[in-house]
Subunit: 214 residues, 4 copies
C-alpha cells in the first residue's frame, strides 16, 4: 500500500497562536520516566529539555498558563488496569511522580495528575482549560507515541487546536516518534520545531505544519 | 535512541477470550473510506475483508454482540472541528456512512455512529457494552493508525481488554500500520492474527501477543 | 432547618439570550411519556405544549438550532441499568420514542437519542452544540425533576448558561416540579416564564431569575 | 397534577450490600460548608455527623474503601463557571476544602477533589472505583439536593447501585431534602436510614427502599 493516498485529504495550512487563548501542556517530565532509579527510564530525555525550557519560558513571557502533567496512580488498588499491561509505576505521592528538577515549577503553574496515558482521561484538565478560556494547546513531553499522543487525541476531540513541537518530545523509538508525529500532523494538529513556537508566541508568526513522511 | 528500553517494561503474556464477556467492534468499514466515489478511499481495503468476515462469523458462532462503527457527522454544523483538519466526509444519512456491502449487517447487530476518530467519543458505545456485561473487545477495521487506534486507546482507558487482529486492519501506510500495532501491543492490548481470534473463540485457546519491532 | 441560608449565597442577576450562541433543547416530548398507550404517561402533558410551541417558534424566528431529545434504549441488552430501576420503556425504533405529533420536527432540526435521564450522558449533544458554537441553552420538557433536571445539571457542568421556562415543563408532582425549579434557579441557571424567553429572543430583553420558595 | 402516576412505574424492591463490591462516598463534609467562618455554612450540619460516623465505622469494619469528596476550585481561573452562579468558595489548598475534624480521615482512605457539584465530573472517582472492582456506593453528606444528588445521578448513569442513608444527609431546606430523596428513591437508587446500612454491612440484611411522599 502506497503511503499515503488517504492522508492526502488534509488541510496542512499554517496556524497562529493567540496568547490569551493558548496554554502550555508539559507531559510526564517526571523522575519515573527520566531519572536514574525511575521505573521506566527513557534514555536521552535530557536532549529535549533545552527546547522544552525555551517553550515554557516563551509561554511565561506571553502570559500563558503552564500545565504540568504527571502520571500518578492511586495506591492500594485491587486492580490497576494500566499495571496489568505495564510495570507498576508512578504511585501517588512518590518521588517518581515529581517533575524533574531540570524544570522549574512556579506557584501559579497548574499540576494535573493522571492515571492513564491521556492527560484528559478522568482529570480536570478540560475544565481547567475551559475556565481559563483556552482554545489552543502547545503539547510536548514524553513519550511522543503514548502519553503525548494520547493527550493530543483527546485535545483534538475536545475541540482544541493543538501544536506539537517535535524536538521537545521523545518517543520509545525513532520509528514510533516519527510515525506518531506524522499522524498528529495529518489528523490531529500542527507539528513544528520548538523555535517556531517560540517565534509564534513572540510575534504571532504563522506556524507551518511539518509532515514527516516515512 | 535505541528501540526500545522503555517498552521493555511490559507484560506480553497471552490472553484468553471469554465468549459471554467479549464483543466484536468493526471500525469504519464504510463506503466513504473503501469504495470508488468515497471521499477518502484507502487503496486495497479489500485485502482485509476476508479476515474480517472470518472474525465476525466466529463471533456470531460464539454468540458475541457485533458492533458496527460508522463515521457520521452532523449536517449543517457551523464549524466541524474535524473538518477543519480533514476533507469534509461522512455526512449523516449519506451513502458514505453505510457499511460496505462486502459485509452483512444482521438485525441483532448494533450500529454506533461517531463523529470523531474514536468510537467511544460522545457515543453510547461504553454504555452499550457495559449493559451487555462486556469486558473484552476484538477491534479492527480502518485505518489502523487513526480510528482503530483511537478506539483502542479509549477502550483500554475504560478498562476493557482489547485484542486487535492485525490482518483485519489497514493503515494509511506501512510504517503507520506497523507502528500503531507496535504501540498497541506494548501499551494497550494484544495484537495477533485473525486466525488466532477465530481459534480463541472456538476453543478458548490462548492468544499470544505479537510485538512488531521496527 | 430554616430555608435557605445556604442558597442565599447566590447570584440571581438576570441574563440575556444571544441568538447566535443559543439553542433550544426539548426533552422527552415523546409518545411513551405523553400519549395513551405509552409505558409511563404523565397526566396533563398537554397543558405545557402551547408554551413549548411558542418557545420553539421564537427560537426558529431567531435562527436557533432546535434539538429534540428522545429517550431510546438499545434492544436486547443483557442488563439495562435503568430498567433495573424503572419499567422497561422507549425501546429503540419503537413508537414510544417518537416526538409527539403536537410538535413539528423540521428537516434541519437535530435529534439526540439518549439512554439515561441526562441528554448529555453518552450522546453527542455536547459535540453538536460545541461545533455549532453554542454557549446558551433553553431547556424544557418532561419531567422537570428527572430528565429536564439531569440535562440541566450536565449543561451547567459543561459550562453552558441554562434557561428553563418553568411553564414549558411538567414534573412527576407539584412538590418535585417546584423543588427542582428552586434548585435550578439557585444553583444551575435561570428559571423564568416561557413568555420571558420569547421576549428575550425577540428583542434581547433581560430575563430575570425566578426563585420559587417553598 | 396528582402525585405520582409517573413514578408508580418503578421497582422499589430491597437491595443487599456486598462488602467486597461496595464503597462509602462522603460528600463535602468540609469546613467551608459546615464550620463558623466557612463561605456557605449549612446550619445544623452537626445533627448528621453521628449517623455518618456510624456508617463510616461500619464500612471500615466490613473492609470498604472510604472515599472523602471535597469541593476544591483551581485558583486564578479567568472564569469559574460555578462562581458565576455561586459565591466564590473552596479555593484549592484552603482551610475551607479540608474535611471537618469531626471525622477522622485515615491514611488508606481516598480523597477526591471536585470542582462541580458532582463528585464524578472531571475527577478520577469512576476510575478509582472501577479499579477497586466496586459496583455499589453508599453516598451521603451535604447538601442532599445539590452535591449529594448530583453525585447520585452520575453514579447511577455509570451503572453503580446507590444507597443513600437519608439521616446522614442535610439539604438546603426541608422541601428540597425530601424532594431529592423522593427522586432518588423513585429513579436513582435506594433511600434508607443509616442504621439500615450499618445492619446491612454487618449481616447482609436486605435494605428496603423508603419513598418519602409529599
Amino acid at each position: 500500500m502506497k503511503a499515503d493516498v488517504f492522508s492526502d485529504h488534509r488541510h496542512d495550512g499554517s496556524m497562529r497562536l493567540v496568547a490569551d487563548q493558548a496554554a502550555v501542556v508539559v507531559v510526564d517530565m517526571i523522575n519515573e520516566f527520566c531519572k536514574p532509579g525511575g521505573k521506566m527510564v527513557l534514555p536521552g530525555y535530557e536532549t529535549i529539555v533545552p527546547q522544552q525550557k525555551a517553550v515554557v519560558a516563551a509561554g511565561r513571557r506571553a502570559g500563558l498558563p503552564i500545565v504540568w502533567v504527571a502520571d500518578s496512580h492511586r495506591a492500594n488498588l485491587r486492580r490497576d488496569r494500566e499495571w496489568v499491561k505495564r510495570t507498576p509505576h508512578c504511585v501517588e505521592g512518590s518521588w517518581g511522580t515529581e517533575i524533574i528538577d531540570d524544570h522549574q515549577v512556579l506557584p501559579d503553574d497548574r499540576m494535573v495528575r493522571k492515571a492513564r496515558y491521556s492527560a484528559f482521561f478522568q482529570t480536570d484538565l478540560d475544565l481547567l482549560l475551559k475556565d481559563n478560556l483556552i482554545t489552543q494547546l502547545i503539547v510536548f513531553g514524553v513519550v511522543t507515541n503514548i502519553c503525548v499522543r494520547s493527550t493530543v487525541h483527546d485535545a483534538f476531540f475536545h475541540g482544541y487546536e493543538v501544536v506539537v513541537p517535535h524536538d521537545a518530545c521523545a518517543g520509545t523509538g525513532d520509528r514510533e516518534h516519527r510515525s506518531s508525529l506524522y499522524d498528529i500532523a495529518t489528523h490531529f494538529g500542527t507539528v513544528c520545531a520548538s523555535s517556531d513556537v517560540v517565534a509564534g508566541l513572540a510575534d504571532g508568526a504563522q506556524i507551518a505544519n511539518q509532515v514527516m513522511e516515512a
